[in-house]
């Protein structure tokens, strides 16, 4: 579904991502781990189009999307969350989800309904999303007034609102307590069962090992290992770079 071909991103002399090949298959959860500064978030930023590639190409469903702007990639079905939460703080919870209705199907809705009315279908969809993320009782609350965990959930919900096929989660468990991580674990599994493909970046190794179907490991902008969780866990290079030796 997503095919990264030798992508690289250099910031001046810093090679944040240095020729990574990575494939995410339809319907899988791919975990991406690695030490701080190894280029994980940069990959998410490149795939979501926040900044241009230095070299390489990005294929999505077989099409080259390397030069598309961010918002167009969302239309094709790539949505993301941010490591440091970025909500629309002075908008209500409901509005945060409302503005994110930007999938290809949603774009084809009648102009007037899309921008001014809000059809019954859209309303029902937002209600379902609120329900799934346990935010329905907060719908009129300003996003800035939510608790940390609620803000994380809302950001997740906002990413889902554009009906993506591929979901990029950038450290969704950062700052969460054990109970919230368990809920997140369950939600990610449910997403996969619903047919989403997920690229999960996470430092919470337990979570990644538990939900991911495959794991890729980055170090200094290069991929050093890839495979099923058990194999990656036993890989000598990965232990050396990230997990630590016993």
């Amino acid at each position: 579904m997503l095919d990264l071909q030798g992508i690289a991103k250099h910031f001046g002399g810093v090679h944040a991502v240095d020729g990574v090949d990575l494939t995410v298959k339809r319907g899988e959860i791919l975990g991406l781990i690695g030490p701080n500064g190894s280029g994980k978030s940069t990959i998410v930023n490149l795939v979501s189009g926040l900044f241009p590639l230095t070299s390489g190409r990005i294929l999505f469903e077989g099409d080259d999307i390397s030069d598309l702007p961010s918002h167009a990639r969302v239309g094709l079905g790539i949505a993301r969350t941010f490591q440091n939460i970025r909500l629309f703080g002075q908008l209500s919870v409901w509005q945060n989800l409302w503005v994110a209705q930007n999938s290809r199907q949603q774009r084809q809705e009648v102009f007037f309904k899309r921008w001014f009315g809000g059809s019954a279908g859209v309303q029902a969809e937002i209600e379902r999303t609120l329900e799934f993320f346990d935010l329905a009782h907060k719908r009129h609350e300003l996003a800035a007034n939510l608790s940390f965990g609620e803000q994380r959930r809302l950001e997740f919900a906002r990413a889902i609102s554009a009906r993506p096929n591929l979901l990029l989660l950038d450290e969704p468990a950062a700052g969460m307590n054990a109970e919230e991580v368990d809920q997140l674990d369950a939600r990610i599994r449910k997403m996969r069962d619903d047919g989403f493909t997920v690229l999960l970046i996470e430092h919470h190794v337990e979570l990644v090992m538990s939900v991911a179907d495959r794991i890729a490991v980055l170090n200094f902008g290069r991929k050093i290992a890839e495979g099923p969780p058990a194999a990656v866990q036993d890989d000598a290079a990965v232990r050396e770079a990230y997990l630590g030796t016993r």
């Binding site: 629309f88 908008l91 509005q95 945060n96 930007n102 719908r139």
Partner: protein
């Protein structure tokens, strides 16, 4: 009595100017070009009624369109820059427009007189209202009708998804991009709507003052334009109206008896107001508690 009618006219026209900046500010852009769009509207409308003898409504329609197009054209290059750079870019554009009208002469002979804009002397004899028998009161009613229409449209826009999208862009452009919003299109659109509103306001301004010249459309006016919505708060259109009444009605006219002390107090009171209400007179929190007070117990509807 005439004094109050005149003041009410000033407040009405400045509300239009403030609303044009409000619309642009919603998307997080600080534009000092609103006075220039106002000037374009003023000159275009006045030329059409004075030289081409058009009906006022048609002239206002055209001035709105011309101002809107100007704003749209400014929007594309200017919006590539952000924050302070945008302020500087729009300021430069505003000055360019002012200097254009400083040098702009286009006059025709009408009997004894030459009429039309005449460079630094300005554009005199915009006598549409007296020639067509509009009393001061008629003019006042017309101004406030336009204010009401524009406010109603913006209010409706605010409640719609389009309004939420504009605010989302103002909150966080990166997040808006990543949520699938075409940020550039939204910003240029907001600029265009702001231009249309400023064009209408400028057109009316030219006709009730009967005399316009380039100095009226300088940096001071541009600063007032953005001061209104910032002081009033961006949660809804009434904040801007409140701020115009506060500044024009209270600070400028109400404190006139203080003489030179007024200017001192003027600045101090604005600073005080911004300290007491950093998000403006009407912020989201204030509106929420107001709603709770007014509709206690009633569950407000969705969206």
């Amino acid at each position: 009595m005439d004094f109050y009618l005149g003041l009410a006219q000033v407040i009405g026209v400045h509300t239009l100017l403030g609303l044009s900046a409000y619309c642009v500010l919603l998307t997080g852009q600080v534009s000092l070009a609103q006075a220039a769009f106002f000037a374009v509207g003023a000159y275009v409308a006045a030329i059409l009624t004075v030289i081409f003898k058009w009906h006022l409504f048609a002239a206002l329609g055209v001035s709105a369109v011309v101002s809107g197009l100007t704003a749209c054209a400014v929007g594309f290059p200017a919006l590539r820059v952000k924050g302070l750079m945008l302020v500087v870019a729009t300021l430069a554009f505003g000055e360019a427009v002012r200097l254009f009208f400083f040098n702009f002469t286009y006059q025709i002979q009408a009997g004894e007189l030459k009429i039309g804009p005449h460079g630094a002397e300005g554009f005199r004899q915009i006598r549409y209202f007296p020639e067509h028998g509009w009393s001061t009161f008629d003019v006042l009613m017309f101004i406030w009708l336009m204010v009401a229409i524009v406010m109603a449209c913006l209010w409706w826009l605010d409640q719609s998804r389009a309004g939420a999208v504009m605010r989302a862009v103002g909150e966080d452009e990166v997040a808006a991009h990543s949520s699938g919003i075409n940020v550039t299109a939204v910003k240029v659109l907001a600029m265009t709507i702001g231009g249309v509103i400023a064009g209408i306001g400028g057109g009316i301004f030219a006709h009730y003052t009967t005399h316009i010249e380039h100095v009226q459309f300088g940096v001071i006016l541009a600063t007032f334009a953005i001061a209104y919505p910032i002081l009033g708060g961006l949660s809804n259109v009434f904040g801007t109206l409140l701020a115009v009444i506060f500044i024009q009605g209270f600070l400028i006219e109400g404190l006139r008896f203080l003489g030179d002390w007024r200017n001192l107090l003027f600045g101090a009171l604005i600073v005080l107001a911004m300290n007491l209400r950093p998000r403006g007179f009407l912020d989201a929190g204030g509106v929420a508690s107001l709603k709770r007070m007014l509709f206690a117990g009633k569950e407000s509807s969705g969206a």
